[in-house]
């Protein structure tokens, strides 16, 4: 079994990389809604206090202010917890950001159930469905520090709005420092022939462990990181569909409107394959991150179980 290393949370990597980008990009303005110590936008504040705005606990107002800044040629990055940002700021994102197609960037932290003890009111599990529903949005989920270092600078060049999802807990180290990823292009993190696990974020580490478990049983499993949900990587899906017998989508998000639904739509068009989906169907509860991932079926063991059933379906 592989030894997965854990390193800093993607939210912390976001704060660090954004602060570095601030040096060479004076047009970056950072906003937060009274959670800057949790989203790590406070790193930027410490370095560039004149370009940091804490709007208070008013997410809708924050998104509107970001729109005005973007319409004035600034490059705003507004952060909060994923659920507060996307749910409370949704109409503002629709009317004042997506509809005029402004270059505003949003970072939702504390995504998924792995935030743990704070419980479901704080867990962002609808954020990706909401962000992906908005025309023109680019939606990314960097898996670890190296992914953030590679992907966040590319966000600056995107000519439209962007949503970036980060997590609370330490992330499994998927990529070596200096790895080059490209927004819009999925990354094969483990090759295999029979089954492809299409996943992202924190679930990549769990999927890699699951793939190792399955390999011991004689299955050949590929794991792909779909760090960009929108626009989805069509050539990547084509590669996966043409070189797999089945696809399993795994996500720390509600199944409705998440990565699985996007991939299923494209697989159906390219080469329909047997598929299954691991994700959430309801609000979770308080507990440790480890307990919650197991209890709600997002642990490597659960992923391997679902994969096994899918592979057996192929043989029957």
């Amino acid at each position: 079994m592989r030894d997965i290393k854990f390193s800093k949370a993607t939210r912390q990597a976001y704060g660090e990389v954004l602060t570095v980008l601030g040096e060479t990009h004076p047009e970056i303005i950072v906003l937060d809604a009274d959670l800057s110590k949790s989203t790590y936008s406070n790193y930027f504040q410490a370095r560039y206090p004149e370009r940091f705005i804490n709007v208070g606990i008013a997410e809708g107002n924050m998104v509107g202010i970001a729109a005005g800044l973007a319409a004035s040629g600034k490059q705003p990055f507004a952060s909060s917890f994923a659920t507060f940002l996307m749910s409370k700021g949704f109409d503002q994102m629709r009317q004042s950001i997506a509809y005029p197609n402004l270059k505003a960037r949003f970072c939702g932290s504390h995504a998924g159930i792995s935030i743990g003890e704070d419980g479901p009111s704080q867990m962002g599990i609808e954020d990706l469905a909401l962000a992906c529903a908005l025309p023109g949005f680019t939606v990314i989920v960097p898996a670890d520090e190296a992914a953030m270092q590679s992907l966040l600078p590319q966000v600056l060049e995107i000519n439209g709005p962007v949503y970036i999802r980060t997590g609370r807990i330490k992330s499994a180290v998927i990529y070596e420092a200096g790895t080059v990823l490209k927004i819009g292009q999925a990354s094969v993190v483990r090759e295999g022939r029979q089954l492809t696990i299409a996943t992202m974020g924190l679930m990549i580490g769990e999927s890699l462990i699951a793939a190792d478990l399955l390999e011991q049983e004689g299955y050949s499993v590929r794991v792909m990181d779909f760090h960009t949900l929108k626009p989805i990587d069509i050539p990547g899906i084509r590669y996966m569909a043409e070189n797999s017998e089945a696809v399993l989508c795994v996500e720390e998000h509600l199944l409705d409107g998440g990565l699985g639904s996007i991939i299923a739509r494209e697989v159906a068009k390219i080469r329909p394959l047997p598929m299954d989906f691991v994700g959430l169907t309801d609000y979770a509860e308080s507990g440790t991150p480890e307990e919650l991932l197991k209890h709600y079926g997002l642990h490597a063991v659960n992923i391997a179980d679902t994969a096994r059933k899918l592979l057996k379906r192929l043989r029957s």
């Binding site: 729109a67 800044l69 319409a71």
Partner: protein, 271 residues
């Protein structure tokens, strides 16, 4: 600069454009467009706003945000009069392919500052513009028109709290206080009074004026933005449907086009 008499005459001509374009579209919002006319005319033609149709994105310009996006006809009529768009476009309002969408759309009409239509968002957007101007040491002021029904929205008060706290003295909000919202009179749905006290309590500089008395409107707009400390709100008491007798205070014309006969009568009254 135009005289008050000239501005009033221009207001009448803008009102004619509004009723004509809504009649041609067969739908639209005459009531809340007509109530905003003097304010818009003073802003664009009374030497209040620093703007130039030949350089619509000039960096020192003042900006106007129509937060109450359903009053788009008055904005389009004024933009046409000021030379930003051709007057020939006005009859295309709300028609397929027209840049003059039912509510303002920045992507279809790029001289606009922002898209609007979902109520309550314009002050926040204006704050972003005001902060950007402040950061870049630009002189631009931001003018935002909101409806009185619109200020039912919670986001308005989030924005009011923020602008007061940050002393955004380059931000000027005009409340088109015509007393009605879609369903009924404000006071029957959510009484706004004491409205001036509410804004004052949020640390705004408050003026209350007759929104159809051009001299008052012009005077208030001239004074607005001169406070060193505070954002300014002008509560303009207006009449919904102003200028057309059968539309005045008749909430049927919140969102209904005049018939052909009604249009003729309206135009006759606006001669």
């Amino acid at each position: 600069m135009r005289t008050i008499i000239e501005l009033n005459s221009l207001a009448k001509s803008i009102r004619r454009d509004i009723v004509k374009m809504i009649a041609a579209a067969g739908s639209g919002h005459p009531g809340g467009s007509l109530s905003l006319v003097e304010i818009m005319v003073a802003l664009y033609f009374g030497d209040i706003m620093n703007h130039d149709a030949k350089d619509p994105k000039g960096k020192n310009r003042d900006r106007f945000v129509l937060s109450k996006g359903h009053a788009a006809p008055v904005l389009y009529a004024v933009l046409a009069e000021a030379g930003y768009i051709s007057k020939d476009l006005l009859p295309t309002l709300r028609k397929l392919g027209s840049p003059l969408q039912g509510h303002p759309d920045l992507r279809k009409l790029d001289i606009l500052e922002i898209s609007s239509g979902s109520l309550g968002q314009g002050i926040s957007v204006g704050i972003g513009m005001a902060l950007a101007a402040r950061l870049d040491h630009l002189p631009g002021k931001i003018y935002i028109a909101v409806g009185d029904g619109e200020i039912n929205e919670g986001q308005i008060w989030e924005a009011a709290l923020f602008a007061g706290h940050h002393h955004l003295n380059n931000l000027i909000v005009i409340v088109d206080h015509n007393g009605f919202q879609l369903d009924e009179a404000n006071r029957k749905i959510l009484d706004l009074n004491p409205l001036a006290d509410k804004w004052a309590a949020f640390n705004w500089n408050v003026m209350v004026i007759d929104g159809h008395d051009m001299a008052s409107v012009h005077g208030a707009l001239q004074k607005a933005g001169q406070s060193a400390e505070k954002p300014t709100v002008i509560i303009a008491k207006t009449v919904k449907g102003k200028g057309v007798s059968f539309m005045e205070n008749n909430n049927k014309f919140h969102g209904m086009a005049p018939t052909e006969t009604e249009l003729s009568q309206a135009l006759a009254e606006l001669e």
